[in-house]
Amino acid sequence: MYLIYNMKYYVFNRFILKCIDNIFPIFSVDSKRRAKGRNKPKPAARGKKAKPADSVEESEEEEEEEAPRKRKGRKKKEESEEESEEEQRGRRKKAAGTKKKKAAAKDDSEEESEEEKGNKRRGGKKGANKKEKEEENNKEKKGNDDNSEDESMSEGEMARLKEDVEEKKKLIATLRNKPWRMKRRLKCLKEAQAFVEKFEGALGKGKGRRLYAFKVMMTKKIIKFNRDFENFKTACIPWESRIKEVESHFGSSVASYFIFLRWMYGLNLVLFGFVFGLVVIPEVRCDANLNFFCIFSGYCKYSIMFYGYYNYQRSIGLLQFRLPLSYLLVGLGIFGYSLMVVIRTMARNANEGGDGAEDGAFTFCWKLFTSWDFLIGNPETADNKFASTTTSFKESIVDEQENLKDENIHLQRFLRVLANLLILCCLGGSGYLIYYVVKRSQEFAKKDRNELSWLQKNEVEIVMSLLGLVCPPLFEVIAELENYHPRIALKWQLGRIFALFLGNLYTFLFALFDEVNAKLENEKEIKNETIWALKEYYANYTLYHNVTENIPPPNISPADVIRGPCWETEVGIVSFTVTFISVLSFTHICVCVFVFLQPSYAEFDISGNVLGLIFNQGMIWMGAFYAPGLVGVNVLRLLSSMYYQCWAVMACNVPHERVFKASRSNNFYMGLLLLVLFLSLMPVVYTIMTLPPSFDCGPFSGKDQMYDVIMETIEKDLPPFMADIFSYASNPGLIMPAVLLMVLAIYYLNAVSKAYQNANMDLKRKMQMQRDEEKNRRNNKDSTNQVMKDLEDLLPNKSLIPPPSAEETEKPADQLSKSPKVTGKPGAAATGKGVHVQKDVSLAAANPRAPVTRPPGPRPPGPLPGNARGPPPGQGMGRGRGGPPPRR
């Protein structure tokens, strides 16, 4: 019963609920009118409604208000009441403001008790209805006389009134959570609102009325605005309806992928905001002199997308924007922000999820009561769900019947080991393949680019994509051997593909590092040559023009300048290609295979898609520093993939054969994402900290290290004392203690959490013990608790206890309709007594006489043995025991 009753979207979504909220007041007006129509014959009905049973004064006051109104006639009243709802809301709020001291004092603690009170009152009122009606009739006549006393309320009365009003308000606020019928709720609402309106009006009379009216109006407006805003917010959750639709067709497991995708999109949007706001836009605005790079060399190598495009000038524009600094900080900030968000999300999920495990205390119950997915709205899925529920029941039954399947378990183990071996082979093979290809591509790189075919140029990327395409299905086939529950199987599958991607990623990275190193060598040469050429040029210039100062820079067209290889851009391009190719493989191949070839419909491959997403995000994180445009491209990619996949899954996939539930907040995905984030963080930070930046391209050209930008800023831009502070802070003598402190803090927190966990476990165990004890006591009570029985026999009011005959012949378990209120208490009392005695006598021989622990209840509906004197008390079963004795 996943998400109990969260059925399909377009019915039970929040939006609709808001609509309910919207119509609620109106609706209540409507039915109020109706109610009025019914009540017309009885003039006193209205007064009765608004009055708590216990306060006579209040009722009198009410009448004072009530009576004049009634005189005005029905018609007017109807009109006025229509608005009263809204107004009350307003006034309620307002009064809440004015009486804050009071409200604050009792606020939360009283909420529950007040609800109870409310209940009682209502209960009491119903009983007292008739009496009151008469009273009221009398009062109504009286009420007309003492209008004048209206203004003069004593302080105590005022206070009481305020309290009551508060109470009513609370009732209104919590009304939605009450398990009542709508009719009753409406009635309560009306009552409470009428009450509040009346007495708030009374309370507000003394002060400036205009101000009051104005406040009411404002609060009304504010409430309306808030409501609209809430509606707007829910309407703004992107793709909610799409995801719900998918969910209803494919179950929550598939939906969890899309929710993850949406989350990822949000994250990327923020990153995109960072990058574009702080890096790209400043650069674009101030780069008139650098525009030629774009046209340069035919393709987009030196475009805004890549590292090489950015200017090394310390500050640009009117605002003296420090671009290199901002570039570095944004590059690191992306990681910082992502880490923070991922961890926060994980923590929140963990909080709200709790530990669902609970070591299978309620296996059958949960299966029985919560296994239906209320979101299913598709016949096919429903059939699958029926089938899977049945299977799961059968599985548990089999498990229950024979806990150990000896002959099977060895085979199972063998198969699992075999499967893991196979998969390891696959992983190793693919890792080696990638390594080999990368090596080869380095050899290719040494040759002239023009000689190479397109295939040779892009070999690495193609091989990687192919592996990503081939391996997951292979793993899935192998995983068939293992015969896990699909939820567990999904996790294994995710882990394996993750390992594959990871291995690929890292072999790829190491190969890339080789390449980068080669580029760095190359660059050194070019740098020396350039410096030499410049020197020569200056020397020549001095020679010819006889000037030593103000030498114009060499007049060479930018296309002819010998440029370094700019390894950063190279890295950016590689990650760009990988991303792009993975997009291609994602969309196009899927389209080709599914739409044009039309094989048999496949299930939606959750694990593959999730990992594709995660891996891709890792690529983005890694590449974002070297290719700021990558984030933007990724946003587009995710956007299109959302629409495309939503469509594709509805068009080309069939529901899973074994529909299983996945929780909406999936920490497993998040964990993988965190791992990938961490892994992609490392190479980037490594390059930033160790490798020297290219000398002639990018924002850090001319620096020895990238982080020199920060040093520079500290020295030049910040006041000197800041520099001092930083120099102190970077002192190892300070850093070491700080790290130590953190470690200690972590250790301490860890210890505390462990302690809590232990306490938790302890409590759980205690609860379990108590439960078992209780059960045992119940089961054994009749046979063991002899003293109790003797006592009971001697009790004077035995006449109250029915002759056991009537019920005892009937199977108690079938007694559906006995009055439970009656049964509950005596049973509890009996156990209460039993606590003390039971232990001493638990070994006593079974007493044939049954204890009579209950007063008589109404008879069960089934056929009863007609005789009043049934079998002798001993042989039957007491009601409290009920049913066949539990096993054990």
């Binding site: 969260n6 609706f27 019928r181 309620f362 949960w366 049964t823």
Partner: protein, 179 residues
């Protein structure tokens, strides 16, 4: 106190909301039964058979029970009040406790009283639930076993029935309940 035009406005608005949301759906179910005009206070009820055909309920094995438990007469005829009630409880926003209460109500097949915590889920109820859930594909022995186990697991006070307290205790710990 207020002008008539405001009253008119309110009425129009109320019409608007009723039309556009829930009442629209309600009306859709039985256009011939449900009027759009409530001024004359008609007593409208839609029978169970029509409600059960809503796309949200159509595939649900408990659809009859759901509708029955929300109907005031217990026969499955829903007035608009009941209808709104059902939507509000089944929506995502409804608090967990409320859902537990109504879940209990749905699983107790012969429920007495509107909300009475002293009702019990007994063996028969469990059997019915199980049969609905599996389309009666389990053998009677299996059904018995499952029911027994379920009661054994969740029954805290040892009366071989699940009271609401038992039920709530059990369901509130379920990993799949309302997540």
């Amino acid at each position: 106190m207020r002008s008539d035009s405001q009253g008119d406005l309110r009425r129009t608005l109320s019409y608007f909301f009723l039309h556009c949301s829930l009442h629209g759906r309600y009306h859709e179910l039985a256009p011939h039964l449900v009027p759009m005009d409530y001024t004359n206070d008609p007593d409208v009820k839609i029978p169970l058979a029509l409600i059960v055909n809503m796309p949200e309920l159509k595939e649900n094995p408990f659809r009859n029970r759901i509708v029955e438990s929300f109907s005031e007469d217990g026969q499955g005829n829903l007035s608009f009040n009941d209808f709104v009630d059902m939507f509000s409880v089944l929506s995502e926003m409804a608090p967990r406790e409320l859902k537990a209460i109504f879940a209990f109500k749905i699983y107790v097949h012969s429920f007495r009283g509107y909300f009475n915590v002293d009702n019990y889920i007994c063996n028969e109820d469990l059997e019915k639930t199980l049969n609905k859930l599996t389309k009666e594909e389990l053998t009677p022995e299996e059904v018995n076993l499952v029911c027994e186990k379920a009661i054994e697991e969740a029954d805290l006070d040892g009366d071989n029935k699940l009271s609401f307290a038992d039920f709530e205790n059990m369901i509130s710990r379920a990993p799949d309940f309302l997540r």
